[in-house]
Structures are given as structure tokens and as C-alpha cells.
Subunit: 214 residues, 2 copies
DNA sequence: CGCCTGATTAGACCAGTCGTCTATAAGGGG
DNA sequence: CCCCTTATAGACGACTGGTCTAATCAGGCG
């Protein structure tokens, strides 16, 4: 009766391998054949699950953001830490996952935004919605951090939490983009430092190194 | 005897039309045919001027950064303004040129960085060198602005001018990337505001609107 | 004028693109 | 047992991709 688990098996495998390959080479540069061969899925099946390459791209982005948001939610609610600490843990994790070249850890938003937003209106909208939700989630934590006192009150002078979250997210987007160019972590370290500055935090507040809760 | 102007005529035309088209659609998504037809250059000629599409991409980026740096140099040395004003004029100009969809005003660094840096090591290096030069030029102006007193002295607390320039450039890179997603100027306005904050400047210091020198 | 040399172009080439289409296989329900 | 929907399988079409060889052209010199 519930048919999605059955179809979802193959469909999800296409999405997963597609995410790795497209996350590495981009959208236009990758052909369906390459993905399908890697996923060991015949071509005929592809068009059973997706009506076109563009529709597949949409599903890919939706799937990606869905996972990413769940993962972020978990990180921003980990127990035994203040909201500010959780936020810093989020960005420290971003830095640690983006600087080395883990193929499956690539951020699709960074990789595909520029290429895809001029190519497909539908994919652009998925990107827009996804990034908006991430920023909104960050803003929520920023507000909570201001409320629980783990952020200096002077932060709110700069504007609303949503604005601050927007700025910080874009800062990290740009840092990740430049890290792709330089292939080192310098851009991300600069972003982390700027994050401390924009949040009016003491730069030596530790947590620059990611750590599990003790 | 000087043959480059003759060959350069066709070569440059390929580069110019290529910049517009690739700046709009990306690198992999555009075929040589499209560029050459638009430039009214026969296909066979292409490989007389460029040894491959990748080599063309390199030349394209070099040409772009060369123009961009010259334009930036001019803006950062315009007479009758303090160094801080010139810097703010630079970013205000960035905002004004990126938010609307002028096809030839597209920033190739934003458009191509993610796509190309994993695709071609040679193109990646051109991007790296180009962005490094821009950042270095910005750092030079930041230092000058600190020296002539048009920036608050408190700015230097955050670190060296090069670090600050790196952060600001990446901030704008990310803002432009997100502006491609949202198709409005909100991300760029946020970046301008954050720029004021990172430079410890009064947000109401005018110059948020671009203006010609009076 | 005739020839030669190098710059320029025309178009063939094949691998690869997305997407379509027919044919087969699997899995229940009646 | 048949039927019907869902899913798999991959050949095929029309087309475009980047690349390269072979022909053309321009023009200076003998």
C-alpha cells in the first residue's frame, strides 16, 4: 500500500549518487549517464522517477536542504551548551567540513547557486526557499542567544536577528566560495573571526576548535 | 609587422562575446558554437586563437580580471574624496551593478568560481590570482584610509588590513551569490550595512547612494 | 604573373547529450 | 490463471559537444 519505500529505494539511490557527483562537477557538466552508471540504475528508470534533468535537480536540492536543515536543527539544539555556543559550533563545523575535500560533504548551495539560478527558475526557487529557511533558523537561535544572555546585548544594536543571520550566512557563503578557489582554510578562518566580531564576542572564547560535548 | 592588432581583433571579439554569454549561462552550459555564432566568427577559427575551451576560459578570466582591476584602480583613486569614501563608493558601485540584471555587468568571479575551480586547475589558478590582487588592492586602500584618518582607529584592532580586506571581499562574494538566488538587492544591502559595521563607520554616513563627484 | 609560405577558415568527425520509445519483468488482486 | 499497474531495460533519435585535418586565402618575392 505504501509504495514510496519501494520506489524510494532506487529513487533515493539516484539522488544520493547524484548529489556526490554533481556536488563535485556541477550540474551542466554532468550527464545523466554518468550518474546512472554509478548508481547502477538503468536509464529507463530515471524517467520513471523524474520527468527531466531539471526536475531531478529540483528534487536533488530539496533532498539536500531537507537533510541539511535536520542536521542543523540537531546541532543548534545539542544539550549542555548555551545558544551562542551552539551557534559557534555550527560555524566551526561548517569550517571543518568545507576546507578539506570530502566529496559528499560539499555544500550544494555554494556549488550550484551561481550556475543554476540563471539556468532554471524552478531550481532557483528551491535554492531560495532552502537558504531562507536556514537563515530563519539561524535567526531564531540568535534571538535565543540574546535572550539567554550568551550574546552581548550590544549585538541587537546592529539590527534585527534576521538581518544579522542573513549577513552571517552570506559571509560564510562567500568564504566557502573563496575556499573553493584557494583550496585552503584561510577564507573560512577569516569568516569565523569576522563572525566573532559581528557577534561582539571575545575572539578567544575557545570553541574555535570543534569539540564534542564533554 | 605588429600582428597582434589584426589577430587581436577577432580574438578580442571572441573574448568579449564569450564574457557576456558565459557570464549569463556559465561555462559548461555554453557551447563554442553559441559564442562563435554570436561573435560572427567561424568555428574553425577558434582553435587558431585558443588551444582548447579550457585555454579560452583562462584567457577569458585573465581578460576579465585585468579590466576589473583597472576599473577598481580608477575608482579607488578618484580625486576629491577620502580613502574611506572611495572604498564605500567601490562597494556601493558593486551593489548597484549586481542587483539588476545587466548581462555584461555580471561578475565572473561570482558566476564561475564554484563551477570552474573543481573543473580546471588552470582556470582555478587564474581565479585565485585575480581575487588575490583585488583583495590586496582593497587592503592597500584600507591602510591608506586608516592612515588619513577617514577610518576610525579602532578598526585596526580586528587585525591586519589584508585580513579585513579578505573578510569584506568574501562578504560581498557571498552577498552577490545570494543575490543571484533571491534576484533582489536585499542581500547586497545587508552586505553594505555589514561593511559599515566591520569598518566601525557610522551607518548614516551617506554614500549609500552612488554619486558622481560634485 | 606564378609560386610559396603562413595565417585563416570550412567542415568532417565521433563521442556524448537529453529524452523517447518499445519490450520485458515483477507483483499482487480478482 | 489472467490482468494490470509499476518498474526495469536499453536501443534509438535528433542533436550538440569539442577537436582536428584539409582546403582556402592573402600577400610578399622572384
Amino acid at each position: 500500500m505504501n509504495m514510496t519505500p519501494v520506489t524510494g529505494d532506487v529513487r533515493q539511490r539516484i539522488l544520493n549518487t547524484g548529489q556526490v557527483i554533481i556536488g563535485g562537477k556541477g550540474f551542466s557538466a554532468v550527464g545523466l549517464n554518468e550518474i546512472l552508471k554509478a548508481a547502477e540504475v538503468p536509464k529507463g528508470s530515471f524517467y520513471h522517477y523524474f520527468s527531466s534533468k531539471e526536475a531531478f535537480g529540483e528534487a536533488l536540492l530539496e533532498d539536500y536542504f531537507s537533510d541539511y536543515l535536520a542536521q542543523t536543527e540537531e546541532r543548534l539544539t545539542q544539550p549542555g551548551a548555551s545558544h551562542a555556543e551552539r551557534l559557534l559550533s555550527y560555524w566551526a563545523h561548517w569550517r571543518d567540513t568545507q576546507h578539506h575535500c570530502d566529496p559528499s560533504g560539499k555544500c550544494l548551495a555554494v556549488k550550484l547557486a551561481a550556475e543554476v539560478s540563471d539556468l532554471s527558475e524552478r531550481m532557483r526557487r528551491v535554492l531560495q526557499h532552502g537558504t531562507e529557511r536556514i537563515i530563519a533558523r539561524l535567526a531564531q537561535s540568535i534571538e535565543a542567544a540574546a535572550a539567554d544572555g550568551s550574546l552581548p546585548q550590544s549585538v541587537n544594536i546592529h539590527g534585527s536577528a534576521l538581518e544579522l543571520a542573513t549577513t552571517l550566512y552570506q559571509l560564510w557563503l562567500g568564504a566557502s566560495l573563496r575556499a573553493k578557489i584557494t583550496r585552503d582554510r584561510v577564507p573560512l578562518d577569516a569568516a569565523l573571526k569576522a563572525t566573532y566580531a559581528l557577534l561582539n564576542l571575545d575572539p578567544n572564547l575557545s570553541l574555535t576548535q570543534e569539540r564534542t560535548q564533554s
